[in-house]
């Protein structure tokens, strides 16, 4: 029933994915480091130039964020933009293709959808997050400079999946044998990937805005706030995290409803406050809070971003803590 050769191929591709993502992360980090060095050099030069003559360009640079987004290339002596980021992006894209291959071969090996246990689910969530990120970069909604911050959690997430949660390819337990699993779990995977991505970007927004306010106060931001200088501007980060979360929220809602329909067919009730259901509800309420907060004076910005981060934490609790430590109807793998 299980195609062992395919299952092995899937495992090898999974290993290759982690490797590619890790290399991509390093390349992105290299670009970050190069940009920061350049920024430090340029702001040093800018300070000197300001002292000499208040040229237009240097004044713009002292303004901060706007120059961060587009490093001035007017100066022919300025170093060319780093290739490392481009390499990172290619590695991430190739990684995503290999990752897809790993997931598909896993499904073919077991002759079912490849999201039947925690290992497979984690792998799919990471794939969803990486693909959404790559789509955002490709459509120009987000700068690739976020790459390192996306690939690092993806590598950690996959590392955890491949070691602690690893389950050999096998058939499904009877309760999971339903076409609703394909719909319910797929929606949960897609929205989880987006929510986690949204959480990361919200966290970066918090970092960036803290960095900005420290700069505005004339202080020198220290780690981790110092990383803020190479990030997109705070409004961009805020918009991206909102867009990703707003994309995920209706899908999450649908996942819960599809789960309820499945529960009705499998267990005889559509809602029963099973721990997994409870935490899905908590996650849903938190993100509903996020969407409302972003439209409420006094809550938009930092507070809303914190809610976005807390929502991602609830999602992680829902997955790891509830699956592993609490016995409930969803304790399958």
């Amino acid at each position: 029933m299980i195609d062992e050769a395919l299952a092995r191929l899937s495992d090898n591709l999974f290993f290759g994915t982690v490797l590619l993502y890790a290399l991509s992360m390093l390349a992105f980090a290299g670009e970050q480091a190069a940009r920061r060095t350049r920024l430090v050099e340029e702001s040093g030069a800018a300070a000197a130039a300001t002292r000499l003559a208040a040229s237009r360009r240097t004044r713009a640079m002292a303004g901060g964020p706007s120059t961060v987004e587009e490093p001035p290339v007017a100066d022919p002596a300025a170093p060319r933009p780093s290739r490392a980021g481009q390499v990172g992006l290619v590695l991430a894209a190739v990684g995503a293709v290999v990752h897809t291959g790993s997931v598909v071969t896993r499904g073919l090996a077991a002759d079912r959808v490849p999201w039947g246990n925690m290992y497979e689910f984690s792998s799919m969530v990471a794939l969803a997050a990486v693909v959404i990120f790559l789509v955002l970069v490709a459509t120009g909604r987000v700068e690739r400079s976020l790459g390192a911050f996306v690939m690092l959690p993806a590598v950690l997430y996959l590392g955890l999946a491949g070691t602690v949660l690893y389950t050999a390819a096998g058939p499904l337990v009877p309760a999971l044998d339903s076409y609703w699993i394909q719909i319910h779990v797929f929606a949960a995977i897609l929205s989880s990937g987006a929510f986690l991505l949204g959480g990361i970007v919200a966290l970066l927004y918090l970092l960036r805005s803290r960095h900005d306010s420290q700069v505005a106060e004339g202080r020198v931001p220290r780690f981790p706030m110092s990383m803020g200088s190479t990030l997109p501007t705070a409004p961009v980060l805020d918009r991206v995290s909102y867009a990703v979360i707003a994309f995920a929220f209706p899908i999450w809602t649908f996942a819960i409803i599809a789960g309820a329909i499945w529960a009705e067919a499998a267990w005889g009730r559509y809602w029963g406050w099973d721990p997994k259901e409870t935490w899905s509800f908590i996650t849903w309420v938190l993100y509903a809070g996020y969407l409302h907060a972003r439209a409420t004076a006094g809550w938009k910005g930092t507070r809303a971003a914190w809610i976005g981060v807390i929502g991602a934490v609830a999602l992680i609790i829902n997955y790891y803590v509830v699956n592993i430590f609490i016995v409930g109807f969803h304790s399958y793998a």
Binding site: G170, P171, V173, P174, A175, D177, S178, W180, R239, A246, F249, P250, T253, F254, I257, A260, I261, W262, E264, A265, A266, W267, G268, R269, Y270, W271, G272, W273, D274, P275, T278, W279, F281, I282, V285, L286, A288, G289, L291, H292, A293, R294, A295, T296, A297, G298, W299, A314, V322, I326, V327, G328
Partner: protein
């Protein structure tokens, strides 16, 4: 919610633009003084900040129910918790933590949230209905204040530009009003994206509908469980169940009068003992007079009759035994044994009160795949399927004390005071077909292995309401998150002929305002002005042309 007045600054416009909320509208100043505190409390409750707070409280109030055992989910775990925490558990119990989703504090949070929601919905529905009837407002005097603007001069005729642009916008499903100006030309106001607020209202109304559906289930629903042995039947009535959970307003007359018989139960397992499939072959009748039909009941494949759904809940073994008494009467029984673990080692109790002379009783285990320790003689099961079934029993003779009025479990020998062991404590292992001749007369034969299954029957009239409401929620959410409300104005002013620069030409001004999704709107605005430029090509001579996007 109406769009911001034209004089409003962009920042304010954006403020109210991105609002997904159910924010209240201030009440009119005519309210009586007496009502002021009530009004203030109401406004407080229906304010966005309160709603946000209640949302977080709701999330917080849900957490204990996921970590503490719940009676509604698993009552056995609650009893275990009481054993493990003898001091803490009663306190938690008094505070409702073991039924936390039915606790007053949980109800308080969600009821307040819903009151706040309904309080906002009323005014917002009225406002939206009004906005739907109100044509887009006239073009503002100074268009350059808008976030997206464009201006050029053209040689085209003003009236023609107005007519063509209006047509184009209408085709693009904009809501268009053309207002002619006094000195010729005129202005178009167009608006699009009303569905955003419609979706928002639909989502929040659906939430109320969902609550109604859930409440209907709680009040009018019914849930019962019943154990049926292979070959036995079940007819739906309150008395046929082993356990029932009726809703508070459930009427027993509403039970669907169906019946079914369990013909055969089959389970398959993987080599490691993990369950692969469960099948219960049923024959059922919709009503006592209906023809009987077969049904293959499985997990994820319930039997649906009328408003009632029958689910497969659990299963176990029921060995068939024949007991002969001292007079030689054959007493046949199918004994329901309770599984004790994944290998289905099951405990069995056989009570034979009708045995002539002294009553008989047996106690022991059923092992589907039996392995016996050669030294101790203990039997155990190594696999859940009946590959090598055995029934291992200890026998008793005497008085079962069934007539003393105390209820007894059929699954246990509660009262052994009148019983004497037949053959000491030595258990006797029986394979199918084997008979144990009891010392002092009588015998017991393990005839064959049969199975039983438990079924759950539910009736939930609120289910359909909840499903419709859920669909409305998703639809409403998508509309309210992805539709953008935006407005454009086009003013076409002919420059009077007779000297001066640009005389005889027509000035076209375009402006746009998006309440959300500024970037997406910038693209839309560019393509929109592009189309207007096609109908009104800019004059070749230098014109004060400008184009700004924010």
């Amino acid at each position: 919610m109406t769009l911001a007045p034209d004089q409003q600054t962009t920042r304010e416009a954006e403020d109210s633009a991105s609002r997904l909320s159910t924010a209240p509208q201030p009440l009119g100043p005519t309210d009586r003084q007496l009502m002021a505190p009530v009004r203030r409390a109401w406004r407080q409750l229906t304010s966005m900040r309160t709603a946000l707070l209640l949302l977080f409280l709701l999330a917080l109030a849900s957490i204990p129910g996921s970590f503490l055992p719940q009676r509604g989910v698993n009552p056995v775990l609650v009893l275990e918790y009481f054993d493990d925490h003898p001091t803490l558990a009663p306190i938690l119990d008094r505070l409702g933590f073991f039924d936390s989703f039915a606790a007053p504090w949980f109800a308080a949070v969600y009821l307040l949230l819903f009151v706040s929601l309904v309080g906002c919905l009323g005014p917002r529905i009225r406002l939206h209905a009004k906005a739907l009837r109100t044509p887009p407002p006239p073009v503002p005097r100074v268009l350059t204040r808008m976030p997206s603007t464009d201006r050029w001069e053209t040689g085209s005729d003003a009236e023609q530009v107005l007519a063509q642009t209006g047509r184009g916008l209408r085709k693009g499903r904009w809501r268009v009003v053309t207002r002619p100006a006094e000195g010729g030309g005129g202005a178009i106001s167009a608006e699009k994206g009303y569905l955003r607020e419609t979706g928002n209202l639909l989502f929040h109304l659906s939430l109320v509908g969902l609550l109604v559906g859930i409440a209907m289930g709680g009040l009018l629903g019914f849930q019962g469980t019943v154990l049926v042995k292979e070959g036995d039947g079940f007819a739906n009535s309150v008395f046929a169940y082993d356990d029932i959970k009726p809703g508070r307003r459930f009427d027993a007359d509403r039970l669907v009068p169906f019946s079914f018989a369990l013909e055969d139960f089959r389970a398959t397992y993987a080599d490691d003992g993990k369950a692969l499939t469960f099948n219960a072959d049923l024959t059922y009748k919709d009503s006592p007079d209906a023809a009987s039909q077969p049904y293959d009941l499985r997990v994820n494949h319930p039997l649906s009759i009328g408003g009632a759904k029958t689910y497969l809940l659990g299963h176990g073994y029921a060995p068939k035994v024949v007991v002969t008494d001292l007079e030689g009467n054959r007493l046949e029984q199918t004994v329901v044994c309770l599984p004790q673990g994944p290998t289905f080692l099951s405990t069995c109790v056989v009570k034979v009160p009708d045995a002539a002379g002294e009553q008989l009783a047996f106690e022991g285990v059923f092992t589907p795949t039996t392995v016996q320790d050669p030294e101790t003689g203990r039997v155990t099961s190594v696999y859940p399927a009946p590959e090598a079934p055995a029934l291992t029993l200890v026998g008793f003779r005497g008085d079962l004390n069934l007539d003393n009025g105390l209820p007894q479990s059929v699954y246990a020998l509660d009262d052994r005071s009148g019983l004497e062991p037949v053959d000491g404590d030595t258990p006797h292992k029986l394979l199918p077909g084997e008979t144990w001749e009891l010392p002092g007369g009588g015998s017991i034969t393990f005839v064959e292995t049969t199975e039983w299954a438990t079924f759950q029957v539910t009736q939930d009239p609120g289910k359909v309401v909840a499903l419709v409401a859920s669909t409305g929620m998703v639809l409403g959410l998508c509309l309210s998150l992805f539709v953008r409300r935006r407005r454009v104005w086009i003013r076409v002013t002919p420059v009077p002929a007779g000297g001066g620069p640009g005389s005889g030409r027509t000035v076209v001004e375009v402006a746009g305002l998006a309440r959300t999704g500024a970037e997406a709107f910038a693209d839309e605005f560019t393509s929109l002005t592009g189309r207007v430029r096609e109908t009104a090509p800019p004059s070749s001579s230098p014109t004060p042309e400008q184009q700004e996007h924010t």
